[in-house]
Amino acid sequence: MATRIDLEGLTVDYGGAPVVADLDLAVEPGTLVALLGPSGCGKSTTLRAVAGLLQPSRGDVRFDGRSVLGLPPERRPLAMVFQSPLLFPSMSIADNVGFGLRMQGVGRAERRRRSLEALERVQLPGVADRRPGQLSGGQEQRVSLARALVAQPQVLLLDEPFSALDAALRVEVRDLVAQLQREAGVTTLFVTHDQEEATVLADTVGLMLDGRLQQVGPPRAFYERPASLRVARFFGTANAFPGTVVGGTWRGPLGEVPVRAADGPGVLVVRQEAVRLVGADEDGVDGVVAATTFTGTAVQARVDCAGTQVALVVGATTPLAAGARVRVHVPPAHCTVVPPGS
């Protein structure tokens, strides 16, 4: 039975401004929640508080409803994987993997058997008797993963576990983590600065900025329904148009768009992937292509619509050159209004 994690009003300050402020987050049993944010936003601090590596100033960390604040890290039923593999240099790979079992008092033969099994699961058979330093960075990180999972922890904490790997390895290890996490059904809290990683891996994403949780929800919501301008910007939304909402209609430089938002000033946010080019007789706004960038798989374009810059993406095969006259359609279904200055 997997464990549920609840963070309640978690606050960490080192005397000055809080690094983590009043954070509430629930991680449902067996799910993977990603804490996403730029470096210095407090996400790693949050993870360290869950691990017991630091004491929060206020608030609580609960596993299955019971506070674990009084427990030192070694008594919390969790395992953690850090950014670097951190293998113990004085031990063989098998002894590294078996370290957690040894601390639980599991006998030598049983430890060996389960360590070998765990190494198989991370697709590293036959390295058991090597030493750390004789493996590549990606292999070492997989050993680290095996070491964390071998003792079947109730909670898995991952602190940027892929960021030290190069691009190809990163995807490989990421997919392995996803697979192992599902197989083991272990409740996982995952810290990353990479929105793509969070999107691909997580059931639920929590975006942190300046020590505060900005938005929590399924990954898709961050693209389709950002809660604020900053959230939209963090997820790479390039289009934000200031305007005013009156009676369920946003009015601004792109004309009128029906939206679901309260009356008042509002910024219309729409992803560049959602903006479409349409024919001259269809609903839309006329403009001139200001610039195009070929990215290999697509073409990013900026269209000047009477002084307002609209960013959009078209397929790599679509002919589109600067100076071309086009008509741009912003589908209301993909638009969100966020408060100005949010």
Binding site: G52, L53, P73, M80, F82, L86, F88, S90, F99, Q104
Partner: protein, 267 residues
Amino acid sequence: MRALARVVGLPLLLGGLLLPFVPLLLWSVARRYPYPALLPTERSSRPLGLLVDPQSEVLQGLVSSTVIALAVAAVASLVGLSAGRALGLHAFRGKRLVQFLLLAPVVVPGIAVTLGIQVFFIRYGLADTRRGVVLAHLIAAVPYVTLVMGSVYANLDTRIEEQARTLGAPPLQVLLRVTLPAVAPGLAVGALFAFLISWGEYVLTLLVGGGTVKTLPLLLYAYLGSTDTPVAAALAFALIVPPVLLLALTSRLLAGQDAPLAGFGRA
């Protein structure tokens, strides 16, 4: 050019290092070795025999030196382990002052310090005892060990300790199974320094030991002043051989890729 340096330079270097030991070796097996003779005219096993003769003060000196140097190495290692950790890993108020005080004995001659605190040594009954000598040697040895351990800890990724904690290891297990193995090579270097400092110490031993605690350097000095040059030569050997052996055994730790200190770069 490099080949020439190797052909000429290396023998010169080795010769310069080893040549002074040749007369020592010859003297230590001599009974008579009058001036113009190239080799001793009469040989004897007496001087070297003294090194293993339980009745001789030479053996006692060897034992005394060894016990004191081991004790100094042990205590200095313990102090260096904790002080080095604090200085290498943590920022705290007054850190610069602590650093200065720790390193002061390197700058201030030990004799000045010892003269100053000898009153207390006498008051607490430490004068003329091995314990007192060990304490005095520690003044000289602790700064070096602390320096070494400070740099070892500064290079230690302490997340490895956190990793061990999250894998279920209580603090004592982390220390024994993770931290100590990781700093052990550096600690060995530090302990070696402490041993060598104590082993070769003369002035502090004389001041605090008051002639009662006779270590090898003290005996050597006494025999150098006498006419018994063969025994002095044997003593010099006893003084030189253990450190050289220790260095040979630990040279791997002082240089090379995996050395705990930058040392002299790659071997």
